[in-house]
Point group: C2
Chain length 324, copies 2
């Protein structure tokens, strides 16, 4: 087993697509083998530039990600794409035409695309995304584009875990200003007004610029506000240049290190939480859990007391909890 794990890792270092796909599936489904594999991959990771792309449904994230991938390919960079966006054509949330279009990048050997389910991750989505990024990174993807929907707590967390966070906006979405209020403004390093050929694009750009003027200056980096038309590719090269500038900026001093430190700290806490729950669930028997649920339903016990009781039995190390 340990021998075959090492072979598996070697095949990933050699960018074998089937080995990569199998690794991601193993990690997603929480197989023990997947985690052991990650331990072998981790020392070879850490050099990819992770670009988080977030925004509301309908602003054109997937199209922009596709064009940005092609732009990186044009300068010889290998690209990984992780779509954790339930509305993305990569994850299946799109009409057929979009998916066919995506195949233009999908058939390029220098691009690896992977979608992830946004539900059912016991320990939250962010650590699962981190694991997939580690696999793509170890497989030599030089840039990894992570596409998420920018509404919802988990999704914002994922965007925050990237080396650079791009917030995509579009005119006529009706929720631009509202999105800012949700705190996304503070986490974006680069702003992009997509669909810039449509009426209202200038207004969106002005609003963003005005809001940036009001917000606290971030030491040394003024988040640029770019315009793109992802469908035609207009502005994509300038976006790549801005991302390169941010990367160079981040490598000054200890900035990137500080950011990664915070990210790994959050990731470690999340993993710890996940493992603890797994341990507790292993120790709980179904009967004990069900009995507590019936108590709550009958209002004999409140949920907090029930949780405390289950926990204290677990912590006292009695192993399997009694049925009642």
């Amino acid at each position: 087993m340990s021998n075959s794990l090492e072979e598996w890792a070697e095949r990933i270092f050699a960018r074998d697509r089937r080995a990569m796909a199998r690794a991601i599936s193993a990690v997603e489904s929480g197989e023990a083998g997947g985690i052991e594999l990650l331990k072998l991959l981790f020392p070879k990771s850490g050099s990819a530039y992770v670009v988080g792309v977030t925004g509301s449904p309908g602003v054109g994230k997937s199209t922009l990600v596709e064009k940005l991938a092609a732009e990186y390919r044009a300068v010889g960079t290998t690209v990984g794409i992780v779509a954790v966006d339930p509305t993305s054509p990569f994850t299946g949330g799109a009409i057929l035409g979009d998916r066919i279009r995506m195949q233009a990048v999908a058939v390029d050997e220098g691009v690896y695309i992977r979608s992830m389910a946004t539900r059912g991750h016991l320990g939250g989505l962010a650590p699962a995304v981190q694991d997939v990024v580690t696999i793509l990174d170890a497989a030599g993807c030089q840039v990894i584009l992570v596409e998420t929907v920018g509404v919802g707590q988990d999704e914002v967390e994922i965007a925050r875990h990237a080396d650079v966070t791009v917030l995509l906006l579009a005119p006529g979405m009706g929720d631009d200003v509202q999105t800012f209020k949700a705190g996304v403004l503070e986490i974006a390093d680069v702003f992009v007004v997509n669909k810039a050929d449509r009426p209202g694009a200038d207004r969106v750009e002005q609003e963003v610029t005005a809001m940036l003027g009001l917000s606290e200056r971030r030491e040394g980096w003024n988040p640029p506000v770019l315009k793109t038309v992802a469908t035609t590719g207009a502005g994509i090269a300038a976006l790549r240049e801005a991302l390169d500038r941010f990367r160079a900026f981040g490598e000054q001093d200890l900035r990137r290190l500080l950011r990664r430190r915070e990210q790994w700290r959050t990731c470690l806490m999340e993993l710890l939480r996940q493992r603890l729950l797994e341990k507790a669930l292993d120790a709980l028997d179904e009967g004990a859990l069900n009995a507590r649920v019936e108590d709550i339903l009958a209002q004999r016990r409140d949920p907090h007391t029930a949780a405390e009781e289950l926990l204290s039995t677990f912590m006292s190390g009695k192993g399997k909890l009694a049925g009642k």
Copy 2:
């Protein structure tokens, strides 16, 4: 302290708004007193009808919630509103005009409105929302409207925890079909096409109806597809009637009990996870955690190994972990 806790609970049963506000703040900030209070409130809860209202930003959730609250007030029902939507005017994510408009319901003594932060809840958002619902329920709110953004894992979970889930759509949002793909279709009991006076409303209605025809029939309940214009109030009375019908339907047989059993089970697991993490964090010293983060940054250790090590030290009951 126990005496004052009981007084506090009594004031909540008497619908004292300041006592309610203080309880919600205590619960939100995780004060120990808040949880003790919940234990006193819980036996008096359980009779409210919890209505989850979800949908993309911009479909008009807050306006609909406001009008629905007024509709319930018109038939003498007391209403609680919980906004866990970062784009809601209730939570502060709206332009001034919206907020002023909201004051029409806000000044009614029979309506209690509370917004919740969507971030920073250690144990996830869903149990925190459940706690706020318990407080409003114990205070005698007969109907509790929970407004969430229908994108993102946590938000969908919250909608699922209601007695009835309303999915709001609107023409011209561009993401209607995509939203369905994300699995929201399966959890909605009532569909509402808002902004029904705009072009495209009929098409949205037809799409939903067609999709419902394709999906598996739910035993005994065909989710209705209603049309509203929340700004004028058109269709709101019919929505309330549909909600009443669903409530009566749910009380047939054991349906409501089965649904609540599943909800409490999920809630209990989530609380258990939260408490476990708190315990682990108490036991961890900062030095140990920081040392592991530095190991990961230097790639001396992968995050999974680091989490396992922290966990096994915690489980072995050594209390405070050593600094390295």
